[in-house]
């Protein structure tokens, strides 16, 4: 690609392929139904690799909920769920899914199919378990949940070890459960192949992220917000690896030619939390202030292999044990102390000027601790932070004007700091 072809202010060409790959994911789900093959709903954070390894086609309703939001259906679906008695204050992903199911929405609107079984875990939130309980009862399908102990700031190694053991034992139980429900056996060779693909996929994503350290940053949220979906819907398949490699190559070319995702990069930001899926264009507004988001813990979190104890050899030789360890140690569930440390390191490495923290009304586990995270970053490390109140899937909870005014003032603060 020549320099002339490399343009700023647009999505990577490779990212355009995301639509196709996600389309094929949905087709694979339809195909599984046509062929009467086993399917499963899975919550994010659950070991989707095991499903692929056991010949079960996964579906992630969270992913579908974002499709509803992007297609502007989420508000309607949420209100349908509220009519069924689910509170205004409950998770908007959950309610979007309830509304989509009750409306019998097709996949392009964020609908989902009745699965053979459901797999949830409380690693990220309790909601996941409650959500699947609601829907498993509705569809009358079996539901397996993985109970993941919570690592807090003073958890010691002794505890960490028996936490890991508990998860490992449950994962082996899961293998039995899947076999009982589907008749499919766990095949170690297949598991190795799936795990290797999952590892490779995550590593390329992490390499893409490393490129974002460059000034100007070659990739914006136009590529990462949507780009993350294969990480949690298709870990274990080869196809998304090819897509990510293309993304990497194109981004690397931008870096080599000194071209940024933003024509004039002045402010480098971090965005903590889940984006507003119903208004992704909103993030484009940042460009008017020459600001670009160069790191989102949320989209990085799902490249799960970031625990230095979990090496490739370990993952390939003991996939179940490695999976258990990973479920205790990824970005989205860090305890407050680790969270502060990781944020500080990231701000330094990615040369970030300021942090936007999304107080997501739908995701209380994520927004809990946000105020103290902000306090630490500002007081201990002099990192400017701004908390914005909104919701990931419920457009009723975003006051766009108010948030824009807040961000505008925040950018002014960053500008003044730069002039000093």
């Amino acid at each position: 690609m020549s320099k002339a072809e490399l343009k700023s202010n647009k999505m990577l060409d490779a990212t355009q392929g995301l639509k196709n790959i996600m389309g094929r994911h949905f087709l694979a789900i339809e195909q599984a139904f046509r062929d009467n093959k086993p399917t499963a709903w899975a919550t994010s954070g659950s070991p989707v690799e095991i499903l692929y390894a056991m010949g079960v086609q996964p579906m992630l309703p969270e992913n579908s909920a974002t499709v509803s939001a992007a297609q502007k259906y989420s508000k309607n679906f949420i209100e349908i769920a509220e009519d069924e008695g689910f509170s205004y204050d409950l998770c908007s992903y959950f309610k979007t899914n309830v509304g989509a199911v009750l409306s019998e929405a097709d996949m392009l609107k964020g609908g989902t199919r009745k699965p053979t079984f459901m797999l949830s875990t409380d690693v990220i939130c309790d909601t996941h378990v409650n959500w699947f309980q609601v829907q498993a009862e509705r569809f009358n399908v079996p539901h397996f949940t993985l109970d993941v102990p919570h690592v807090v700031s003073n958890t010691n190694n002794r505890q960490y070890n028996y936490f890991k053991k508990y998860i490992t034992e449950q994962l082996y139980d899961l293998l039995d459960f899947v076999q009982d429900v589907t008749g499919n056996e766990f095949n170690e060779e297949r598991a190795k192949e799936v795990t290797k693909n999952s590892w490779d996929l995550s590593m390329i994503w992490q390499e893409i992220y490393k490129l974002r350290k460059e000034i100007p940053c070659p990739i914006s949220t136009r590529d990462t917000f949507g780009g993350l979906f294969p990480l949690f819907t298709m870990p274990g398949l080869k196809e998304p690896i090819r897509l990510y490699k293309r993304m990497y190559r194109e981004a690397k070319q931008r870096v080599d030619h000194g071209i940024g995702a933003l024509k004039q990069e002045e402010f480098r930001l971090m965005f903590e939390g889940i984006p507003f899926w119903y208004n992704l264009k909103y993030f484009g507004k940042l460009e008017q202030w020459n600001a670009i988001i160069v790191y989102e813990p949320y989209t990085y979190a799902f490249s799960k292999y970031m625990n230095p104890n979990v090496t490739k050899d370990y993952v390939l030789s003991k996939p179940i044990e490695a999976m258990a360890e990973l479920m205790l140690s990824f970005w989205y569930i860090y305890d407050l102390k680790t969270r502060v440390k990781k944020f500080e390191e990231t701000v330094r490495e990615w040369k970030i000027d300021g942090v936007l923290l999304h107080n997501n009304m739908s995701c209380r586990p994520n927004s809990c601790g946000l105020y103290d995270l902000k306090r630490h970053l500002m007081d201990d490390f002099d990192i400017p932070c701004l908390i914005i109140d909104a919701d990931m899937n419920d457009p009723r909870k975003l006051n766009e004007t108010q948030v824009t005014n807040q961000i505008e003032s925040f950018i002014e603060i960053l500008r003044k700091r730069k002039k000093k």
Partner: protein, 345 residues
């Protein structure tokens, strides 16, 4: 005696261990007369008001007798807020007990490990001995308390004991010296045995379920509106004493078994089994209706409500669901809904 504070939305902290270590268990309750001004600097206002209330009290300063805190895994709130307590509440000893969400054999094994870890840390920190003998003695004592509470609880359905009075008893049991508790409960039982039923013709008999309701004034408020809570399914209620711990088993295993097998709360999996618990109570106690109270932002209760509503409709039991803000002023705004329900039943 020195106390160990307990943060627990599902009464799953084995008090016997605290007793065996030589401390008095002291469960934290909310104070609906205060606003969580300081806590709001740590936790967004769209999060559980009850846990913010507990944090507010702690930020204002805890009783000097409290020398440590154990927080047990309930919902997402108790998990995530523990780190805030750890950083901002000045206590040398703080332990997060990962009471499991599931209740199968693996969960039991895990819970035993976590209880053992709690014991190890208590021993190391306070230089105390927690022997099996001491644990067994504590279990016996707590079982006596549980049995007495269960016996006293029955006087509610005999229309001798008011629901609010019983609620206050269950609360105080979780905060004061257990020997004192035993004496008080025995006296109360003797007194109740001699008391005649009160006039109850116009009162609506209800089963109260929902979030951890710890404000006795709320129960009094229901009574003023003409309801009588003859039985409940609450953590400041039957969940605290319904079953007893097996005294013949290894004490730690017995404690883990007890907590995993007692009537399920909405924070556990599968929480829909809470309906079966309620149904059993309905089979035993003749009530006019069920009232389900969700504290504002109490997710476990909010998720279960539509299912419970459906199930109660199926069996033809009048059911009222109300979201309550943890603030006494807000109770008054609910009187129309409660009164309408009283009319229906």
């Amino acid at each position: 005696m020195k106390k160990i504070g307990i943060i627990d939305s599902g009464v799953e902290t084995p008090e016997e261990i605290i007793l065996a270590a030589g401390f008095t268990p002291y469960r934290f309750f909310g104070d609906p007369t205060i606003q969580p001004d300081k806590a709001n600097e740590h936790i967004p206002a769209t999060h559980c008001l009850w846990t913010r209330n507990l944090l507010e009290q702690a930020l204002n300063g805890l009783d000097s007798d409290i020398v440590g805190i154990i927080s047990s895994h309930g919902c997402d709130r108790t998990n995530r807020e523990f780190d805030i307590w750890l950083e901002f509440i000045n206590q040398d000893f703080m332990f997060f007990l990962n009471s499991p969400r599931k209740r199968d054999d693996l969960a039991l094994k895990f819970f035993v490990s976590d209880i053992n870890e709690l014991i190890t840390q208590l021993k190391e920190h306070y230089n105390v001995q927690i022997t099996n003998e001491k644990l067994k003695d504590s279990i016996k004592k707590m079982n006596q308390i549980r049995k007495l509470l269960k016996e006293i609880s029955e006087f509610r359905s005999k229309m001798i004991l008011k629901g609010s009075e019983f609620h206050a008893i269950v609360k105080s049991v979780q905060r004061i010296d257990k020997d004192e508790v035993l004496k008080t409960l025995k006296l109360k039982l003797d007194e109740l045995k001699k008391t005649k039923p009160f006039e109850s013709n116009t009162m609506k008999k209800v089963l109260l379920t929902g979030s951890d309701i710890d404000d006795t004034e709320f129960i009094k408020y229901l009574e003023e509106l003409g309801f009588h809570v003859i039985i409940d399914d609450l953590c400041v209620g039957t969940k605290y004493f319904w079953d007893i711990v097996n005294e013949d088993e290894d004490p730690i295993l017995a404690l883990a078994n007890y907590h995993l097998n007692k009537p399920i709360y909405s924070t556990k999996f599968p929480s829909y089994e809470r309906f079966d618990v309620l149904k059993n109570l309905l089979d035993t106690y003749e009530v006019d209706g069920v009232i389900n109270i969700a504290q504002k932002f109490c997710e476990p209760i909010l998720y279960d409500h539509p299912y419970l509503k459906k199930k109660f409709n199926e069996i033809g039991i009048p059911y009222l669901f109300v979201e309550v803000t943890y603030n006494r002023e807000s109770y008054k705004q609910l009187s129309t809904r409660f009164s309408a329900f009283a009319e229906i039943i």
